[in-house]
Structures are given as C-alpha cells and as structure tokens.
Subunit: 176 residues, 4 copies
C-alpha cells in the first residue's frame, strides 16, 4: 500500500518543505506526536532521536509530525518552536495541516489511533509498519533492518501494534 | 530567614489564592518549574508528586510555581492549563508574576538559579532549604523528616545544592 | 523495643567483629539480603550504598546481613566474597549464623519476612523501622532524618511496610 | 567465517546437549556471561530474555554460555543452578569447558574480550556479529532483522562493538 502524502501547514528544522517523493530511495520513519503528550516526550521522541543517531542518514530519514488533536490553543507553532529548541530535536518536523474537525489531515489519512504513532515507509514509498504507543526497540530495529536489506519492493504484510487503549493520555500515549 | 512572599499572577488547582501565611503550621515545599524545561518534566515534577503522595497533606503542602524566564510566548497560562491536565498535576500551581525584566518576581525574590528549583519552608515560615537541579530523594526525605519532627522554630543553617551549571537547559534543569 | 543482637558466623569488610552495643550512639541501618535474590541486587543493595554515601559515617552506620534461607549450597561465604568484590560493596557484611532449620538466627530473631529487609535502629539501640521489599527513598530519608534529629530516645511506634507477598522471589524480593 | 564449536562441560535447561550443527537453519544468539558479573545481570541477560520473547523460537535460538574467567570457586555449577532458578532464565545454558589456564575453551576460541559478550550466528553457521559490553537494542534488532531476511549465506562483514575497557568489572561488563 502506497503511503499517503504528508499534508503540512508549516515545517521546522528544514530549509525547504519535504515530500515523501523527495525521500524516495530512503527508508522514512515518521514519528507523530503532540508536544504535551507525556508518552511522546518520555518514549516516542527519544526513540526517534535514537533512530536518527543509529542509522546512516542517507538510508534512513526521520521526520517528526506534530499532529494535534486536542488542546489546539495550547500547542501552537510558537509553543512548538520553543519545545523543539528545549528538547534539542534536530530532525525535520512538520505541523500536520488542520482538518475540518479536530483531527489534522495527515493523521486522518493514515488512520492513526493517537500519539505517539510511528510509521515506517520503505524505499519505494510503501507503508510497511504502523505502531501506536510504546514500541520495542528490538522490534523496531528488526523492522528497519529488514527494510534496509531490501533492494526492491516486496509484498510484505503490514505490521501493527498498539499498547494504549482508553481515550485520553496515559504513560504510553494519547488515544483518540 | 523568613521566606519571601509568593507574588502570583494566577492560580490553578485551588479555589482561592494561597499565601504562605495561610499555610503557617505546615511544612511547604515549592517546586519552581517551566512547562518546557526537560529536567522539570522528567525529575522535578515527578518528585513533587511523590512528596504530595508520601506525606500527610495536613502536615506537608506542595505548591507548584510556574516561573517562566525564557520563551514567554510559548508558555502562556493557556498552554500551562493543558500541560497540568495532560501531566495529571493536581497540587496548586501559581503563575509567578511577571517582573520588570525577563525574570518573574517570586523567582527573583528567592534568588533562584533556574528551574527546577525546590524550596522548603518550615512550620514557622522560615526558608530552610533551596535546591537547584536534581535532588536526591534520600536527601530530600531526610530534610522533610527533620522539619516534621520540629515543634518550634530552630536556628538551622540553610542547605543548598545545585547540579546544573551552564546557562540554558540540560537534563538536570534550566539555568539562568 | 530493643533491637535483637546480631548472631554472626563470619564478617567481611571489617577488621574486627561488630556488635550493636559497639554502634550505640549511631543510627544503624541493617540491609538483610541474599546474593542471589534479584530484588536485593537491583534495589536493596544499591539503596544501602546510597545511604552509606549520603549520611555522615559517624552518625549513620550501614551493615549488610547475608541471611540465606534457600539454596544454601549456592551462597557460601566463598561465593559471597566474590559477590562483594564484583559489586563493590564496602560496608561491613555479616553472615547470619545458621539456625536449627533453614532460617538463619538473626533473621529469625527479627522475624523477617524475606529478603531484602531493611532495619533501622536508633542511637539508643531501639528497633524503629522494619521494611520488607521495595522501600521508597523519600520515606526512608524521612525516617533517617527523624532519627538524626533525636537527641534522646522517644516512644515512637514501629513503622512497617512490605511489598512482596507470595513465597519465592520476584522483582521486589524473596519471601518466606 | 564459520563459528567455532561450543565446548561445554555441562548443560542446563535442555534435555540433551546442543551443538551449533543441530541449530543449523536457525539464527543463533549466544549470550556469554558470568553469574557474578554486574553488567551481565543488569543488561546482558535481560537483553537475551527479550530476544527470546521477541522473535519466533523456530527462527532465533538463544543460548547462554557461562564463561567463568575469574572467581572460579565462587561460580560453580551448583551456584549457577540456583542463579538460573532465581533469575528465571529458561533458555538453554552451557557451562563453558575449563581450559588450560583461567580462560574457558569456548571463550578462548571466540577470542572474547570479557563478559557480557553477544554472538550472532546466521542460518548457515557463520559468525556474523560479536559485541562486548552494552549493546543497543535498536542495533541488535537491526542485525537480527537482517539475518532473518537472508535466505542464503551472504558475504557480509563482521560487525563488532565494545563499550567496557579497563580490566575488571564495571557497569557495562567484566573485561579480561
């Protein structure tokens, strides 16, 4: 399945806007988060930093996606800019474009369950993994390792995991 | 030394404004923080919650103090309200009153070095401990235990510790 | 209540055998452990080291008590000596004297529930706290702080906590 | 490079002795440890358990190797049996055969630097990774993921990492 396009209101940490087509040939990991989601701060974003620092940048691209679906007034781009500075996040971060309801557009297109959500896209632009909540480093490493070895698109089933369940935020994430 | 008064622009999690005089007879712990300070989120505020849940509420009062000295536009009361909700902080939180410069008034009156800062005030309203950065639970417990046993004001020297040093934020706190 | 005497088969990390009477005037913390008890290794002994390094040695004495009640052949003094070396434990450690059954004598005299158990004795030799399993640093700090402030014996009730429950070992300790 | 054979004095947690030839067709992870090595207890063995529980047992086999090179009297098979029981280790564990000096034979054949050491062997019996000290879960996951995807032996360079350095034990392991 082709990964849906990113729909972005604003970018941080990149000189020019990015598209998935631009990143074709690389594995793309999207970390969808909200700056006031405790599980994103304690687990999701540190994991994204770790991926950024573990794999070669010319093979694995890490992108943050600020997908705000609650407390919109509290998580404006002004606040996000300060957050990215204080938490020393240096990979490109996209502000998910507002949708008709409280859900932003990219979040809706990917049918995400909440934040943090982690998306893996292979070199050919196919959606290959979609996790919600805590993700095991060992499992994620195995998935990225598998994608790294691929030379051509394969017909691999989509893997999905999730740990958070009730609506609202808990230690593992924020649920719709 | 008498603890300086709190100078507060707005309160959260309390029906009426609080003063240190109102709290006379209790030990008061003030946790000064900024909502976008990583060390406050990972260490300072969890410690304040732990004190809140460990000691009897009629003997030890925990108060949060939102002392913003940077990124003022990013940490408004609207954002703070969402932060307190998502991080499930239930003790009273005061917004430190803006000062003439970038430093808020209570922070300046206590001569704080940055956030997180932790203040202990005894039953008679005296400033008894002032920590900046990480605080050992064992050390803090011993200090609170000492204050709990006191029946009358004593002439005890002020203890101070600090771990963060360079200006800016690191894992242990945000420094002036 | 007067703390029962230590009944010891062998000492490590001390030139001469110790008695509680020798330590009169100091607060004594006894950390009862087994070298193959996972909760002792992950929580109990690190906490004892922390107490050793946090409080003045002339006021608080930390003593390890190797109270083996299972797998006796696997936790001999020869193995214990290597364990203390590898884990860099430098406070005095007593081997609890074997009893008529599988329970060693000091463990029986203190009516311990298993390992790790933590005992606090005040300056006058009274048993003041008895914890089994995980101990909150904040709580322990408050107890030691209280004992430090005492100048003369007080009539304070014994505090007891416990977290482990089922017989056998789990993350929090090993239960009888 | 073909992985050297295991030279084993005694097995635990398996009905019959195992050889690498028996395991041909599976990826084999060998976790070399000493029961009194702090880094093995805190990091190495928990990682081996995680691999055991993350990947399909018919594709990835986890084997413990008790490679004692110091304190031989303190880490006998009797003590090891109690250790495996208390730490709930259920994968097969081999006692590395004593060598002419203080180094056991398998440890010498693999030219290990100390404990913990982690070895990965591919489906065709080739040595593919050799780590000493702390191993990143993300990195290990990627390596196992890569090996899982291979259908036939490839000519991939051996990866090696190490973190511990000085002789003796520290938090990351025990060094020769």
């Amino acid at each position: 399945m082709k990964a849906p396009s990113l729909q972005v209101a604003q970018w941080f940490n990149t000189e020019a806007p990015l598209t998935l087509d631009d990143l074709s040939g690389k594995i793309v990991m999207i970390e969808a988060f909200q700056m006031l989601c405790p599980g994103c701060v304690s687990h999701g974003l540190p994991l994204a930093k770790l991926v950024q620092n573990t794999f070669p940048k010319d093979q694995v691209a890490v992108i943050g996606l600020h997908s705000v679906f609650e407390h919109h007034d509290a998580m404006t781009p002004v606040s996000l800019a300060a957050f990215l500075h204080e938490y020393k996040i240096t990979f490109p971060v996209a502000v998910d474009a507002p949708g008709p309801g409280h859900l932003p557009k990219t979040m809706a297109a990917y049918n995400m369950r909440g934040t943090p959500s982690l998306i893996l896209i292979d070199r050919s632009g196919n959606l290959r993994a979609h996790h919600f909540g805590d993700v095991s480093q060992l499992q994620l490493g195995a998935e990225i390792g598998t994608l790294l070895l691929e030379k051509a698109p394969l017909d691999v089933a989509l893997s999905e995991t999730e740990t958070a369940q009730k609506p609202g935020c808990d230690e593992t994430g924020c649920s719709l």
